[in-house]
């Protein structure tokens, strides 16, 4: 009965509530846009970083100054047999020295990282690269032998195209120069810190580096969407700790050198989450989120004051109505509940419409091509901002919005419930 009254009043008073509804609606649309874009940007960076840093959780082995896992098989097996929320587990050989170069057409370009991958195992992950020519299919099977995937930045500088033979120069662990002629099987769009990377077959890279065919430098663990990555890294570490020597947790990239002793005399594994690798970028996104949360909080305060004032006016205008309700036997609590339910219903309906508006705006913003400039490209996929709308986040935002509205309506509703019915019925308004 109280709920019915509240909804009926809301409909009858819709013109009076219109301004409040508009404020809540716009506020929620803004909240949706900000949280979805910040979360989407972070997800985009994480996807790119996972390809670059060997998975959402990377496992690296160290022994006497060398970065190597001599027998990655048992480590992989340990993870595959676990109940961890992994999607892909794949050994990699990464060339970490900064002296590798690609040569073609009289030009050369230094590569920040050479990644030797198993393209059969990492097909799903590396398949998300944005190829402007060729693709990952060419890297699989025998066709992929002596193949290479290079970034568009490198391809443009070298003037190399799909099918061209490029020369790769690197140095072995003993410091000896080595070279190989590789065929360009794919050119991908990637700029910024993830741009100067070359992907090739792990077997080819190990041969060039004169490393054992079974060895790896890293094991890339990709987790399923929505997984808490730092928690997954902790679980991986605890799982490996039972059978292997493992370094203490590395929570930020900056801590790496203090936690990981590269000169250990027995092979020891370091488990690092992509979040730890991206601590600085996460700080940036968190700062953006903080600013956006501040804006949202400010907006909510304005909305609250708006509701407070509107409700005061509304109650003044509806004094006789309150008196009638009380005269008909409605308790003080019932009167308060009617007004609070009106406010809650207003907040829920306006927020849901605001959410839909926010979703439409994110969709439209997602159509804009922001280009491939280094600053923008890190947070965009194929030049476009990605948006992640999580039910949990929407529920939290909705809860906050309803709470704010109820908080603002509480005082006037309480005062309304305290009105004397006789006095209220005498009022002319």
């Amino acid at each position: 009965m109280v709920a019915y009254l509240a909804l009926r009043n809301l409909l009858l008073q819709r013109k009076r509530y219109a301004l409040m509804a508009a404020a809540v609606l716009l506020g929620f649309a803004l909240v949706t846009l900000l949280t979805a874009s910040a979360r989407g940007a972070m997800d985009t960076v994480q996807t790119k970083a996972a390809r670059y840093f060997s998975g959402h959780v990377s496992i690296t082995g160290f022994l006497e100054g060398r970065q190597q896992i001599e027998q990655p098989g048992p480590v992989v097996q340990q993870l595959v047999n676990s109940d961890l929320p992994y999607r892909t587990v794949a050994p990699r050989t990464v060339y970490y020295r900064q002296d590798s170069r690609l040569f073609f057409g009289g030009q050369s370009i230094r590569q920040r990282r050479l990644v030797g991958a198993d393209f059969d195992l990492e097909r799903q992950e590396l398949g998300t690269l944005d190829f402007s020519a060729g693709g990952i299919d060419r890297m699989q099977g025998e066709e992929g032998e002596h193949g290479v995937l290079i970034s568009e930045v490198a391809a443009n500088l070298l003037g190399a195209q799909l099918g061209d033979d490029v020369q790769l120069f690197l140095t072995t662990d003993d410091g000896q120069p080595n070279t190989a002629t590789l065929v360009v099987h794919g050119i991908f769009r990637e700029t910024g810190i993830f741009g100067y990377v070359t992907y090739m077959r792990s077997a080819d890279l190990k041969r060039l580096l004169q490393r054992p065919p079974d060895a790896a430098t890293d094991i890339a663990v990709y987790v399923r969407p929505g997984t808490d990555i730092p928690a997954a890294a902790g679980a991986v570490r605890r799982r490996l700790d039972t059978d292997f020597r493992v370094f203490p947790p590395v929570l930020r990239r900056g801590e790496f050198s203090s936690v990981v002793d590269r000169s250990v005399e027995e092979e020891t594994l370091a488990v690092v989450s992509v979040d730890a690798q991206l601590a600085e970028i996460r700080d940036l996104v968190d700062a953006f989120l903080m600013v956006s949360n501040f804006v949202v909080a400010l907006f909510m305060i304005i909305v609250m004051f708006g509701i407070l004032n509107t409700y005061r006016v509304l109650l003044h205008q509806r004094t006789r109505e309150i008196g009638t309700m009380r005269a008909l036997g409605m308790s003080r609590g019932g009167v308060k509940l009617v007004f609070l339910l009106e406010a809650a219903a207003l907040a829920v309906i306006a927020s849901l419409i605001g959410f839909l508006l926010g979703a439409v705006i994110t969709f439209l913003v997602g159509l804009i091509d922001f280009g491939t400039g280094p600053a923008v490209a890190m947070f965009t996929e194929r030049g476009r901002l990605q948006f992640t709308i999580r039910v949990q986040a929407v529920a939290v935002n909705l809860g906050l919005m309803v709470a704010a509205v109820l908080f603002a309506a509480w005082g006037p509703a309480h005062r309304a419930s305290r009105l004397d019915p006789v006095e209220a019925l005498r009022k002319n308004t």
Partner: protein, 271 residues
């Protein structure tokens, strides 16, 4: 049956004789092999002696002209100081103006790169490219073919007006700048041509030293031409390589101050 026994005895004798011949060949061949290896080692030591200057310093002005396959060229002028006895060198860039004051200092096992713009020293490797040219930092180091390589093949070849021995070398230590090297050496033990290969056997660069200049009783290269086989492009069906020409001017064997080979000197000289 008797014939069969005789056959077996004959077989045994034949086998014994064969073993004796093999043993003889082995014992005769081993010293020959050892002698050959020793001769090769001596050849490499002579080459090192012909290039290295152990009793004093070498200072000279190097003009390095790089022409890339696209036709653009750049010139670097550097003052070079070498003290082979203590395996030290200092290379100070004089031109172009934008790089003036940059310096490469070898002191002990370290090679430092000094950047006057921010007054910082960073480690560099002997295998790094010098000023992004085909020259490696190791090219300024004391020659040590005898210590870093062994001869795995020899030949002889007419190289222009020079009768040369061709030595194929293989690195024996990690200190060697290249895992495989081929040298063309004239009768006076001077290297006239050199090819450097990667581990996979790919030719990385060719260095020709057509002329040496006499400084007192020592021979110092007058000009070197380096062809970088990694940096090339095809123009009208012909491969054009990056070519670096090094001209060595004003060589001097006068002893220089010890202070030259210090980080302080690099910092002071650019102030």
């Amino acid at each position: 049956m008797g014939n069969m026994t005789m056959d077996k005895n004959q077989q045994k004798r034949a086998a014994g004789a064969l073993l004796a011949v093999l043993a003889l060949a082995l014992f005769a061949g081993l010293p020959a092999y050892a002698l050959e290896a020793q001769q090769h080692q001596q050849t490499l030591e002579r080459i090192d002696r012909a290039i290295n200057i152990l009793d004093t310093d070498l200072s000279a002005e190097y003009t390095i002209e790089k022409r890339d396959p696209r036709g653009s060229s750049s010139t670097t002028v550097a003052a070079v100081f070498r003290r082979d006895r203590t395996e030290q060198f200092l290379v100070l860039i004089l031109e172009p103006a934008v790089d003036k004051g940059r310096g490469y200092l070898k002191s002990g096992d370290n090679i430092w790169l000094y950047d006057p713009a921010d007054r910082t020293f960073t480690f560099t490797s002997a295998r790094d490219r010098f000023q992004n040219s085909s020259i490696r930092t190791s090219d300024f180091e004391r020659s040590n073919f005898a210590g870093n390589y062994r001869v795995v093949g020899t030949d002889s070849e007419q190289l222009g007006r020079f009768d040369t021995r061709v030595l194929e070398l293989e690195a024996t230590t990690d200190r060697a700048a290249f895992p495989q090297v081929k040298l063309w050496v004239s009768d006076d033990d001077l290297v006239r041509k050199r090819e450097d290969y990667s581990l996979s056997g790919q030719l990385l660069r060719t260095t020709a030293i057509p002329s040496y200049q006499r400084v007192r009783d020592r021979m110092v290269p007058a000009q070197m031409v380096i062809v970088d086989h990694l940096v090339h492009r095809t123009v009208e069906g012909r491969r054009v390589y990056e070519r670096t020409t090094v001209t060595v001017r004003n060589p001097s064997l006068a002893r220089v101050s010890d202070a030259i080979y210090t980080r302080d000197y690099l910092e002071r000289v650019t102030r």
